[in-house]
Amino acid sequence: MIRVVLPAHLRTLARVSGEVALDVEGTVTQGSVLNALEARCPMLRGTIRDHVTGARRPFVRFFACEQDLSLDSPDAPLPDAVAAGVEPFLVVGAIAGG
């Protein structure tokens, strides 16, 4: 079971509280986790990654296991602790703006 932590605005939009628990088939990557997240919560499509290009939105970052994974390939395996559900995958909105 993969654990995903969303920023407050996206929790509100997706109508979830706390972490989102996801079943991910195959290799656990950013891409496969986000695919599963968007399948569970279709209203999140386009809010984390661009609808057309699939690229991470500029003011969104990904963290896990105290590492910034934002610039990693979407197809790179996530840390084992994330795949095992020990550590969450964090979607973080930039601390910026007014």
């Binding site: 605005h9 209203m43 386009g46 809010t47 609808h51 003011f59 969104v60 930039a94 703006g97």
Partner: protein, 371 residues
């Protein structure tokens, strides 16, 4: 008994204000979508309880919300606004080619007859439409692919399609306006478009009377006279009596002909309202006095409406989609400010009072008159 619902989009959420026809006591609900920019929300003329809202932030992009119960509950619908084909480029501020990039929806215009059909005006400028209640959006690409599209340049607020007017007498005729490309009209339901900017003069342009490039701020039409259009341009208040084929200036005795909003009395198509703003470099009312100006003659002769409005030390702005009217008798006029006030007049502008005064900066105001 009739009632009024005022839909307010702000910098940090949406608010729904409700009153009976007396319009002296208001119930205020919100914020909905707190923390998000709500550029616009509007109800369907065919089903007034069907509302659509444009919700966005720089962090998480665009969301479209839909309500089926007059704004008490909402559900997100599709938010994919993909340009048709290979979008190509428009012209950037510095004159270089710049790829078309979707940023947000500025304006939502529901069909007059079908609650599931809505038009969306986007930045970068494009017109989208849903015919399934927001479950999918498709571009009417004939506008962006109009021959002048590669030469369109953004205004200071972005290359935004902010005005959509559906002709009540002809479902195939639509008027739109883009900052800073100008106004355009289709007569065939959006397949082909014609620039309608003849008569506009914009001194900031190399050719002040060019076919495109004018910074149109807002356009209004009275439903009883679809051939007559009123425009608040970057500078100049303009009028067309031939559906946009030509324009003439009606600024007359206004203290400033810069501004953003323009609207029309519900029962008198020759009575129009603007809020003069000092200049494009100082987006505040002249002399610190917030004044609505009314013309009862279709322009040129304007009277200041000040009763109930701050007449000293007022430095708010009124943005382009932040004025609306109800259709009660007497006509109600409403506008919102960047200071978070929504002012209302229940007597066609003769007197005003704030119906709410400490909201986030107001981006849009729409009014529904309910039976």
């Amino acid at each position: 008994m009739s009632s009024v619902r005022v839909l307010v989009g702000t910098h940090k959420g949406a608010f729904v204000l409700r009153s009976d026809a007396k319009r002296d006591r208001w119930e205020i609900d919100g914020p909905y979508f707190a923390g998000w920019e709500i550029y616009h929300l509007k109800g369907s003329p065919a089903d007034p309880d069907r509302l659509y809202a444009s919700q966005s932030t720089g962090w998480f992009g665009q969301v479209i919300q839909r309500s089926n119960d007059g704004g008490r509950t909402w559900e997100p619908v599709d938010n994919k606004f993909a340009y048709a084909g290979v979008p190509g480029t428009h012209t950037w501020y510095d004159g270089t080619p710049h790829p078309w990039e979707f940023k947000r929806v500025w304006h939502l215009e529901p069909s007059r007859s079908d609650p599931d059909t809505v038009y969306a005006g986007a930045e970068d400028a494009a017109l989208f439409r849903t015919t399934d209640g927001g479950r999918s959006w498709h571009e009417l690409a004939g506008l962006r692919e109009h021959g002048t599209g590669p030469r369109w340049q953004p205004g200071a607020g972005g290359l935004c399609l902010h005005t959509i007017i559906l002709d009540p007498s002809d479902p195939d005729r639509i008027f739109i306006a883009i900052s800073a490309a100008g106004a355009f009209r289709t007569n065939d339901g959006g397949k082909s478009w014609t620039p309608i900017n003849k008569g506009l003069v914009s001194d900031f342009m190399p050719d002040p009377t060019a076919e495109i490039g004018h910074c149109v701020h807002h356009v209004a039409m009275h439903p009883s006279r679809p051939g007559v259009l009123f425009m608040q341009k970057h500078w100049d208040v303009m009028r067309s009596d031939d559906a946009g084929d030509s324009w003439h200036e009606i600024s007359g005795n206004l203290p400033s002909d810069f501004g953003f909003v323009i609207d029309i009395h519900a029962h008198d198509p020759e009575t129009i309202y603007v809020v003069p703003i000092k200049s494009d470099s100082e987006h505040v009312p002249p002399d610190g006095k917030l004044r609505v100006y009314r013309s009862r003659t279709g322009g040129n002769e304007w009277e200041p409406l000040t009763k109930g409005l701050p007449q000293e030390n007022c430095y708010v702005n009124v943005l382009r989609d932040a004025m609306s009217v109800d259709s009660l008798d007497a006509c109600g006029v409403y506008f919102g400010t960047t200071g978070g006030q929504v002012y209302a007049s229940a007597d066609a502008g003769d007197s005003w009072k704030p119906i709410v005064h400490d909201l986030p900066a107001v981006l849009s105001v729409e009014v529904q008159t309910l039976p």
